[in-house]
């Protein structure tokens, strides 16, 4: 009977109920559209980061805090054994998509081809090309652009590499690399930079002869020379043939980035010494396995007495959590505003309902309905308004999401060089359930005030009300 009376009273004041329900529906729609957009951003951002650097990177203890100053000193000893230990572990194995070594280093890059004499410090990353390609295919959330193979690097050709567009511009490589919208630096500036950054003649002398070792496959590509200090402190030089330029999202990184084959990076950093790596990258099939995988890695390293630490992609990408926090703050702000609007709308509607039905309240109380029964009745009506409005909002949100997801919109996220599809991520059951429940709860709480007022009405006063 409670439901029957509640529903019929809602239908009795169709216009008022419709306005209230619509206010709740619009609130739900706004929350869900922003929430699904936020989920899309999170999923897209995570996909981008995990494709690039995996879920975890295993470092030698201390590297994360101090290693950037001297990567060679923080190399992982006998890294191939560590790789095998991780890859063959029965607990980790089913979770792992890719396990691959990586080596970070820095030095000076110079372009001395022809008339060029530009040099610039660089930040290099050595990778296993085939592993990098497997990582690029990760798409747990099924929202990324279709995978396009990148064959510019190859496992069997360690002389090829990639360069950031900014660094290519500085090194006067825009023409040879056919980079669009890439101005050539003024000659005077280039010479000045070169003079400041590197002792050009010594550098050229070190490189001499190295070019002759280049394989036939890379002939015709522009090449640069990389100078770095080995683990032993001696200068070492290698040549790198550039297969292309990749824009990096952050200018500072774009102006310094060089990607290369792991073997070349090891040759540059360790020379004839033991080749190490600075990190072992793990990419899991599913991000949900991260806690379990991390716990297992810690146990494994402890068990084997290995001085290694594990850092996840959020720790290694500072703007990841910042972006998440930023969006969550906006979402919270919107949620509070919508919650307050819904609260006041339902309070107003239910207060009107109580006023209009005061005599009815008196009648039912006289017939033997308890105060709690009156309270329940109005609470139920408030929550029914919430259910109707929130359900309508969910339906509208799904329709809007379907339209947006089919519209082919794109956008360029912060810290990203390329535009990515813009969409609303519907596979967020927690968001939908949370929004629905939250609005129903707010509507119910809003009804509590007038419901209490109705329950406390003296019966004779209520009966006297016209």
């Amino acid at each position: 009977m409670l439901f029957k009376v509640g529903l019929r009273n809602i239908l009795r004041n169709r216009r008022r109920s419709a306005v209230t329900g619509l206010a709740i529906a619009v609130g739900a729609l706004a929350l869900l559209v922003f929430g699904t957009f936020q989920s899309f951003i999170f999923a897209g951002f995570q996909t981008q980061v995990v494709r690039g650097r995996g879920h975890f990177t295993v470092f030698r203890d201390g590297y994360f805090l101090y290693g950037a100053g001297n990567p060679a000193a923080y190399g992982i000893d006998d890294y191939k054994s560590v790789l095998a230990l991780i890859a063959d572990d029965p607990t980790l194995k089913p979770m792992l998509n890719v396990v691959t070594p990586t080596l970070s280093l820095f030095g000076i890059a110079g372009n001395f081809q022809g008339e060029n004499d530009a040099a610039k410090t660089f930040l290099g990353i050595g990778v296993v090309p085939s592993a990098r390609e497997r990582m690029r295919q990760w798409d747990q959330f099924r929202i990324a652009s279709p995978y396009l193979p990148d064959l510019r690097l190859a496992d069997d050709d360690e002389t090829r590499g990639l360069i950031g567009v900014g660094l290519a511009r500085i090194l006067n490589l825009c023409g040879p690399l056919k980079i669009a919208n890439c101005p050539t630096p003024p000659t005077s500036t280039t010479r000045k930079l070169a003079a400041a950054d590197a002792p050009q003649e010594d550098f050229s002398a070190l490189v001499a002869g190295d070019l002759d070792r280049s394989p036939d496959a890379v002939r015709g590509m522009p090449h640069i020379d990389l100078l770095a200090a080995t683990a032993g402190g001696a200068p070492n030089v290698v040549s790198l043939y550039l297969a292309g330029a990749d824009p990096q999202g952050v200018k500072e990184f774009d102006d310094n980035y060089i990607g290369m084959h792991l073997a070349l990076a090891q040759q540059l950093l360790y020379g004839r010494g033991e080749h190490k790596v600075t990190g072992i990258v793990l990419q899991l099939h599913r991000s949900e396995d991260m806690p379990a995988a991390r716990a297992r890695l810690a146990a494994l390293f402890k068990e084997k007495g290995l001085p290694l630490e594990t850092r996840d992609f959020a720790e290694l990408t500072p703007n990841y959590n910042q972006t998440l926090t930023f969006f969550r703050s906006i979402f919270l702000f919107i949620t509070v505003i919508i919650g307050v609007i819904v609260l006041f709308t339902v309070v107003n509607t239910m207060t009107m309902a109580v006023m209009e039905r005061t005599n009815e309240i008196g009648t039912t109380r006289a017939m033997g309905v308890r105060r709690s029964g009156i309270r329940r009745q109005f609470l139920l009506e408030g929550s029914m308004l919430g259910v109707i409005g929130a359900s309508l909002g969910v339906v509208l949100a799904v329709i809007v999401a379907a339209i947006v997801n089919r519209s082919g919109l794109t956008w360029t996220p912060p810290g990203n060089a390329n535009s990515v599809p813009l969409g609303l991520y519907l596979e967020s059951p927690a968001l939908f359930i949370g929004t629905w429940l939250g609005l129903v709860l707010v509507a119910t709480i809003a009804a509590l005030i007038p419901a209490n007022r109705a329950a406390k009405l003296p019966v004779v006063d209520a009966l006297r009300h016209v």
């Binding site: 009977m1 009376v5 005599n359 033997g368 009966l463």
Partner: protein, 237 residues
């Protein structure tokens, strides 16, 4: 309750009710004592503002006296808390209001069924009793109609059926014919008389309708909050 048939169904002693209107206190009832016998057609009569409705409200346990005691069906209701009073009303007292006071979103059938829901009557019995009561008041054909689809007389019939369906000890009717034309009023009085006899219920009216008063077994006359007469004289202690 457990009271015998000879005992009065309502026993009022020294009943006073004072309303505070700002700084002014208005005495609606002044020390009224009376007994109302069972299974009778009793009327509280008097001019407007004499305190009839206040008296009925106190007997109906929907208001509390300033002083004095109210005993209904052998129960001293002043000792009961709000929930207990609600339950007591649900079991023992039916109300018929001047303005009908039907629940507008419920059909005639549902309005009549409502009191049975409050006392937890099983569904089958509820259905049978509701239909029987609608039949008793001659509204079999209108059971699906909402109050706004019924005439004044039909509404009051629904109200009577609603008051009687749970077989209460007492039915309180506050000016039940006031909103009805003379012919319909007469029909309603006749109906109430008939169902009162059929269900052996005590009817207590407040009225100044001479047509209704002429059907009274007992009348209690009130003026300015005081009981000034009872007919037959045994009505007052």
């Amino acid at each position: 309750m457990n009271a015998s048939a000879e005992e009065p169904v309502v026993r009022l002693r020294g009943l006073s009710k004072t309303y505070a209107t700002g700084a002014v206190a208005v005495a609606a009832l002044k020390g009224i004592s009376l007994d109302i016998p069972r299974h009778r057609f009793s009327m509280v009569v008097g001019p407007s503002g004499s305190g009839k409705t206040t008296l009925l409200n106190l007997i109906g346990c929907i208001d509390v006296p300033t002083s004095g005691t109210v005993e209904v069906c052998g129960e001293a209701v002043g000792r009961l808390g709000d929930n207990a009073l609600s339950d007591f009303r649900a079991r023992n007292i039916g109300f018929i209001f001047q303005g009908f006071s039907l629940i507008p979103v419920l059909s005639a059938y549902e309005n009549v069924e409502y009191p049975l829901l409050l006392v937890g009557t099983p569904a089958k019995e509820r259905h049978e009793r509701t239909l029987a009561m609608l039949n008793a008041v001659g509204l079999d054909e209108q059971e699906k109609q909402r109050p706004n689809e019924l005439s004044g007389g039909q509404k009051q019939r629904v109200a009577i059926a609603r008051a009687l369906v749970k077989h209460p000890e007492i039915v309180l009717a506050d000016e039940p014919t006031a909103n009805l034309d003379t012919r319909t009023g007469a029909q309603i009085i006749e109906l109430m008389h008939r169902v009162q006899a059929e269900f052996a219920t005590t009817f207590i009216f407040s009225t100044h309708d001479p047509q209704l008063i002429s059907h009274a077994d007992e009348t209690f006359t009130i003026r300015d909050g005081e009981l000034i007469g009872a007919r037959p004289p045994g009505g007052a202690p």
